[in-house]
Assembly symmetry: C2
Homo-oligomer: 115 residues x 2
């Protein structure tokens, strides 16, 4: 199934998850996955939150993300992922001076798998 983020309309979420500024999102979602092309302008953030029964994978393509994962800061640069498995918490902030552009996949209902 083809998803063309180049042509998909964008949505703007203000103060997403209690963060600062705007999160600009192009999103496809179904019952299993949310697939998102996202942009955070300098100074914008998605506040720290817990993924109870979903996981989130963020792949940074441009800019630098200052992430927080289970309370610990991590710097996510192009070519790196910030991964938040189910049962963990994360947030992300653009402290840089260029747009932060990343691709994100949120997969639902992954909490109760057999380890």
């Amino acid at each position: 199934m083809l998803l063309d983020f180049n042509r998909m309309p964008s949505q703007t979420w203000s103060e997403f998850k209690g963060g600062a500024g705007d999160t600009v999102v192009r999103m496809y979602k179904d019952v299993s996955n949310r697939i998102m092309f996202m942009k955070l302008e300098p100074g914008s953030s998605i506040d720290y939150h817990r993924h109870e029964d979903s996981s989130e994978i963020i792949y940074v393509m441009q800019g630098t993300a200052t992430g927080t994962y289970d309370g610990v800061e991590e710097i996510i640069e192009p070519g790196m992922c910030g991964y938040c498995p189910a049962g963990h918490s994360h947030g992300i902030e653009n402290k840089g001076d260029e747009d932060l552009v990343f691709f994100s996949v949120v997969s639902e209902k992954q909490a109760n798998q057999t380890l």
Copy 2:
């Protein structure tokens, strides 16, 4: 959790899923997700296969992928995704003359969710 694909060792899978040539992969996996930075050289392919109880999301960053999704050809260019939900089939081929580079997420056990 930080995953740095810039520093992760690569694996080479020859004739992956019965396809042609080499698939070069940098991968992190756990019970819920396989998170992969992948490269297919010109002429290489991942043959058509079914995702029974997992989904796969491919985000193309460089080159052009000739995909097949449920038997129908689709051209996946940079900024586009090829999405194969659980219960569907897909394959991918690099018919171009430059490397095909893409980011991929395979999420496990997504077949029996309530629609």
